[in-house]
């Protein structure tokens, strides 16, 4: 090291080497729904494997889809819902899973795997993370004050305009997830929930436009707090969200009592699934992450935290009793039979759904 020039060069080289070493550090970039995991699971995974988790969240399937379709999203593991998964597979977004790297797949629940195979033939691209239903969440006392002792067990409570009119004052929220809400309305009208006929989509839209004057809000995130605070008294919502609202109300000790019900007409059953984008850079690490999440005690920990059922049969012995025995989280076999799934909307039917839904939201 005679000249300062050489010394500079040596410094630069060693800096480069350090950067290279940092790049060697193993990473996995995960894009999951917000509030959808026990954060300690990510720390445990890093401790066990040495792979750093870069965790990012979304709250809308459309956001995920747009990022994936644009390409180069930079994510290694993403969590799309069933119909979105199916359409994205068709668009060539995902790589096939290497099952040899996923030994824990033997823990999965055959019932859920079979239903998921409707979206992903032979379960080639995805494994289930959580699943749930879209039902009715309500404030027990407020509804009782308005409707008396009428049991809340049917979509009638919301979809019959005379009932909705009575509930207007205490606040109705409609879930802003047109794919699901249209299927639910079609099922309510005794039509095929999976219908892609324009006339059927319009008929389903009618169900909502009739109750539009009575709806206070239409959203798919803020309603959790609104229900917990008593700002709304009834909502179409996702099972786990309603249970989170219930938990928040109990923690706040504000006297709000919340219940979730799967209406007797049946409802939509959804699956959120782990998949690897075709352009993922850390494929090895992505498999390791998915395999880790299929460990019974790990996924049970996630279910205990987010209050959703998972698709892992072996995990049920580790799931908290109050969650496992709650029929609105883990429905009975009989109720399970009344749950339906739908295939994605495409082209014309998608446009019709969005157009009808936008007009419904704008109250036109």
């Amino acid at each position: 090291m005679k000249s300062p020039m050489l010394r500079m060069l040596a410094l630069a080289v060693s800096a480069l080497a350090a950067t290279a070493a940092a790049a060697q550090e193993r990473e996995v970039h995960v894009y999951n729904w917000s509030d959808y995991i026990d954060p300690s699971i990510l720390e445990d995974f890093t401790k066990e494997t040495g792979i750093k988790v870069v965790y990012d969240v979304f709250d809308d399937n459309s956001l995920l889809e747009t990022k994936l379709l644009a390409g180069g999203s930079g994510y290694d593991v993403v969590v799309p819902t069933g119909p979105f998964l199916q359409r994205q597979i068709k668009a060539g977004v995902y790589r096939k899973l290497d099952k040899s790297k996923l030994p824990n797949i033997s823990n999965m629940w055959p019932e859920v795997m079979t239903r998921l195979a409707k979206y992903d033939k032979d379960n080639e691209h995805a494994v289930n993370y959580m699943w749930g239903t879209t039902g009715i969440g309500y404030n027990i006392d407020k509804i009782k004050a308005v409707l008396g002792d009428t049991p809340i067990d049917s979509w009638d409570v919301l979809f019959k305009p005379e009932n909705a009119a009575k509930l207007k004052a205490c606040g109705i929220n409609v879930l802003d997830a047109p794919d699901e809400t249209f299927a639910i309305a079609l099922n309510y009208l005794h039509k095929d929930p999976n219908s892609k006929e324009i006339a059927d989509i319009r008929a389903a839209g009618e169900v909502y436009s009739k109750i539009r004057p009575y709806a206070r809000s239409i959203n798919s995130a803020a309603y959790i707090n609104d229900l917990a605070n008593g700002d709304i008294c009834i909502t179409i919502g996702w099972s786990g969200d309603i249970l989170q609202a219930k938990k928040r109300a109990e923690e706040a000790k504000n006297g709000v009592k919340i219940n979730y019900v799967i209406p007797k007409e049946g409802t939509y059953m959804w699956f959120d699934n782990l998949a690897i984008p075709a352009d993922a850079k850390n494929v090895e690490e992505a498999h390791a992450f998915i395999n880790y999440l299929m460990k019974p005690e790990v996924i049970a920990k996630a279910s205990n935290y987010v209050q959703y059922a998972n698709g892992n049969l072996a995990s049920q012995q580790f799931v908290d009793k109050e969650i496992l025995d709650n029929p609105s989280v883990y429905p009975t076999k009989e109720v399970l039979g009344r749950l339906f799934t739908i295939s994605p909307y495409e082209g014309k039917s998608q446009k019709e759904v969005t157009s009808v839904w936008t007009k419904f939201k704008n109250g036109r």
């Binding site: 379709l69 644009a70 390409g71 668009a91 060539g92 007009k359 939201k361 704008n362 109250g363």
Partner: protein, 304 residues
């Protein structure tokens, strides 16, 4: 002196050409090129693919096939569904009302700043700019905390007795909240150009008016306001154009019935995955804003 020939080196100097070219290069790179890409996508069809439209440009060899597949279908759907026209009109209405409100609030502020003693002007200027130091998004979120039914405004009004304890303000998720959010967010953009023109105003003109017996309010309308028109126009344009395409404020503060073209565009792009139609919406929006402004500018130049 004015007739002296330009130094000959300037004509041939490549430096001079560079100076001329740079603005054009800037325009081509950051305006024309993106616009052409958007325009091209607007002529495609949506598809289930990555990216979600076709045809995709795959080189000049297949240029013929590529061009023959393009059509104006998406522009047709814009005309056929009344939703888009309603959204454009609603955006223009919201932008117009907001701009007028901004002028009403911003003009007195700018005037007061310009007439303030020069020692405190920098402080006033700082106060106008200060909100920029916090993220725009957080400031809009803060408004949610103020306007929501159980928010600060309700609490404050209940505390002073203007609102009964069981009553709540119902502003959040209505058009009123959108106007409040827009006026708050864009106020500096209105005040600064106004201040810039008002500050340069020749004060002796007003003194002369006063000497000749003109009352202050008349002097304002006959001297101050006409002379500040360039600032008014600049401020109005800087506010009106982005407000028309605004997405964040109506999405966070507006209700489900707040119809704005920015939201329509979002729904087309994300909800429908219809990039071509979303691009068509954007192209029409751009033309709807640019063409009248260009015509206006031309008129101004002719008058001038």
């Amino acid at each position: 002196m004015a007739d002296a020939p330009a130094p000959s080196f300037a004509k041939a100097s490549p430096l001079r050409w560079l100076v001329v070219i740079i603005p054009y290069l800037w325009l081509v790179l950051f305006f024309a090129a993106p616009f052409l890409i958007i325009f091209k996508i607007s002529l495609s069809d949506s598809a289930i693919a990555m990216p979600p439209y076709e045809p995709v440009f795959e080189g000049f060899g297949k240029l013929g096939d590529f061009l023959s597949a393009l059509d104006f279908e998406n522009y047709q759907s814009l005309v056929e569904d009344s939703l888009y026209l309603a959204a454009y009109l609603s955006s223009l209405r919201i932008a117009l009302i907001s701009t007028l409100l901004l002028l009403l609030i911003g003009y007195p502020m700018a005037l007061a700043m310009a007439r303030a003693p020069s020692t405190i002007r920098p402080t006033l200027m700082m106060m106008v700019i200060l909100p920029f130091w916090t993220s725009f998004l957080i400031r809009v979120y803060a408004w949610i905390g103020i306007l929501k039914p159980e928010g600060l405004l309700t609490v404050a009004l209940q505390a002073v007795g203007l609102l009964a304890p069981d009553q709540q303000v119902e502003i959040y998720r209505t058009d009123y909240a959108v106007f409040i959010g827009i006026v708050y967010s864009y106020l500096p953009f209105m005040v600064l150009p106004l201040y810039a023109t008002l500050e340069k105003l020749d004060g002796t003109l007003l003194e002369a008016a006063s000497d000749l017996g003109c009352p202050p309010w008349k002097a304002f309308w006959r001297i101050t306001f006409p002379l500040s028109l360039p600032g008014v126009i600049a401020g109005a344009m800087i506010c009106f154009i982005p407000i028309t395409g605004e997405f964040v404020i109506p999405d966070l503060l507006g209700g489900p019935e707040t119809l704005m073209i920015g939201r329509t565009l979002w729904v087309e792009f994300f909800g429908n995955r219809d990039w071509p139609l979303a691009s068509a919406v954007a192209v029409v929006l751009l033309l709807a804003l640019v063409v009248p402004i260009v015509i206006f500018q031309n008129q101004q130049q002719k008058v001038g």
